[in-house]
């Protein structure tokens, strides 16, 4: 891997924490901006993408897929190149402003009913700009912090950047919940949903002024003063075998596995509880929220630990544990919420029309519609099952922190200063945006396919899938297994020289 000159000394402690604070705050706001679109997807679709209009529905799918998967790597290339030519600081100021403007503008676009077809087109363009900005932000922030850090604390320092994705999700949910609770449901549906988008502009302005006063990365400044920056980072990163082989290694041996584990632990767990287990919407969010809150500190812990024992063993251990335990964990999650295996307290049953509320001996309740082949609508688990579910999701979050905590330092150390921003951003956003971002769609498809196959074979008695609800896990298990083997064999453990 890339090793060159002697280490630069790290910046002073006070400056370092300013650097970490300014970088993390900006990245946090970018994640917030990115998530509020997803969290308000239902409202947005009614305002901009009416389902009865097939073209608008097509644009809606495009907005979901294109911004999350396709545009992020392009943002990584575009802004990565800028960051390696003109500097880290100016580039991630641009990504911050671009994200803030796009988010604020989404909150100002008139709805489909007012301006017709222009509304979904404008929102799609703004969503694409959000994806582009996010693609450029992360690499800049990670590189900026790493290039200020002392070499032996690089994992610890950059791990603060790693916490921002989780905190961004928290803050987006909190702002939406606060906005909702401060007005009537009608007002929120009418105009209140715009508030979280508009709040972003205030946060971006604050973050812009904090970042504006920061200095350029010392390593980049030194490289520039010595004339060692690249004039064509794209060609140097991907056109030269010596660098390109490390881009491929970073993708297949680390970020690909990290991406699917991140999405399984933070998003598929949520979707599995809601869609497959039918757990109540609010209770599911609360379960995930508790697990995330309990787990977030471990990003920093594993970042710190990676400075002591190396990045590779921690990331690979996270991947291996996930591969080995995902199926038992999800099987247990399913059993804890499966009310058909619980004892109903029949005397406490409530019936209202076609809807029946059943109470079970462990404190769980289920809302069931119809008689005979009744359909379970929602399940609210009892206290014991709730705690167990939080623990099971927490274990998954722990795997996320193991693979994600050290990865910024790991990626930064793989590439030299002159092409670092470009080279590290692309594998990160392909791993997370494409391999990770596709996870919910692929996993849901596999579960649906298995359930449909069982339905077809129901009359013959022999079902092709013993546990169809676990089929979706094959996607993260296979991807993480391949990544584990490649990482184990081809990646070296020694933490590298950042120059």
């Amino acid at each position: 891997m890339q090793n060159t000159a002697a280490e630069m000394p790290g910046s002073s402690k006070k400056t370092l924490w300013k650097v970490i604070g300014a970088s993390s705050l900006g990245t946090l706001i970018e994640w917030y901006d990115f998530y509020i679109f997803g969290s308000l997807a239902i409202v947005i679709s009614t305002k901009f993408f009416p389902p009865d209009n097939p073209t608008a529905a097509f644009l809606s799918t495009l907005a979901t897929f294109a911004a999350g998967f396709v545009v992020r790597p392009f943002g990584a290339l575009f802004f990565g190149r800028l960051g390696d030519i003109i500097g880290r600081k100016y580039t991630f100021m641009v990504t911050l402003l671009l994200m803030g403007l796009a988010t604020c503008a989404i909150g100002l676009v008139p709805g489909y009913e007012t301006i017709g077809f222009a509304a979904p087109v404008i929102v799609l363009i703004l969503r694409l700009l959000q994806g582009l900005a996010l693609g450029g932000e992360y690499g800049g922030a990670a590189t900026y912090v790493a290039e200020h850090s002392e070499p032996h604390k690089r994992g610890f320092r950059t791990s603060w950047i790693q916490t921002t994705a989780t905190f961004g999700l928290f803050i987006s949910l909190a702002v939406i919940m606060l906005t909702k609770s401060s007005m009537s449901a009608e007002a929120f549906d009418d105009w209140g949903w715009r508030v979280p988008f508009l709040i972003s502009s205030v946060m971006v302005v604050v973050s812009y002024f904090i970042r504006r006063n920061m200095d350029e990365s010392p390593l980049f400044k030194k490289a520039k003063s010595e004339g060692n920056t690249s004039s064509n980072p794209l060609r140097e990163s991907f056109g030269k075998k010596y660098n390109f082989k490390f881009v491929l290694l970073a993708l297949f041996g680390a970020t690909m596995g990290q991406g699917v584990i991140w999405y399984t632990g933070q998003f598929y767990a949520l979707s599995f509880l809601q869609s497959v287990c039918k757990v109540d919407f609010d209770q599911t969010n609360f379960i995930i929220g508790c697990a995330l809150l309990a787990g977030t500190g471990f990003f920093v812990f594993f970042g710190w630990l990676s400075d002591k024992i190396g990045r590779k063993p921690i990331m690979l251990a996270g991947m291996l544990l996930a591969v080995l335990t995902y199926r038992p964990i999800y099987d247990q999650m399913y059993r804890l919420t499966d009310v058909t295996a619980k004892q109903e307290l029949v005397e406490q049953r409530h019936t209202a029309g076609q809807t029946v509320m059943k109470v079970y001996d462990d404190g769980s309740t289920a809302t069931v519609v119809g008689q005979g082949d009744a359909v379970i609508q929602t399940v609210k688990v009892g206290q014991g099952a709730f705690v167990s579910l939080v623990l099971l999701v927490f274990i998954q979050v722990l795997y996320v922190t193991m693979v994600y905590g050290p990865i910024a330092a790991f990626l930064v150390e793989m590439f030299p200063v002159r092409i670092r921003y470009t080279s590290m951003s692309l594998p990160y956003h392909i791993g997370n945006g494409i391999f990770g971002g596709l996870l919910p769609a692929v996993a849901t498809y596999l579960v649906t396919k298995a359930q449909a196959a069982n339905m077809v074979q129901q009359t013959s008695g022999a079902l092709p899938y013993d546990k169809p609800y676990l089929e979706g896990l094959w996607y993260p298990i296979i991807i993480a297994s391949v990544s584990f083997v490649i990482g184990l064999l081809y990646i070296k453990n020694k933490n590298q020289d950042v120059q």
């Binding site: 891997m1 097939p54 073209t55 529905a57 097509f58 799918t61 495009l62 897929f65 294109a66 998967f69 396709v70 075998k241 390109f244 082989k245 491929l248 290694l249 993708l251 297949f252 392909i430 494409i434 596709l438 769609a441 391949v482 083997v485 490649i486 064999l489 081809y490």
Partner: protein, 74 residues
């Protein structure tokens, strides 16, 4: 270890080709021919984004492994 790394290069190439075949034949072609608008975006993503990354990336990675680019000492 270097021999294992080289031999596995063949595995990565085969894996890349198999994944490409699966993505195009089992996923993209049926979705392109379904005629549904919502199937078009995933089909385009499989064909023009995912397939080139997985097949192209793993084949090049496998070739590099096979030719000893990742041998110890680098």
């Amino acid at each position: 270890m270097n021999t294992i790394k080289r031999i596995l290069g063949v595995v990565w190439i085969v894996l890349g080709l198999a994944a490409g075949y699966y993505l195009i034949v089992s996923q993209a072609i049926p979705q392109f021919s379904s005629g549904k608008g919502e199937d078009l975006v995933p089909a385009i993503i499989y064909t023009f984004i995912l397939m080139p990354i997985i097949t192209g990336g793993l084949c090049i990675f496998g070739w590099y492994a096979l030719t000893g680019e990742y041998r110890d000492g680098d």
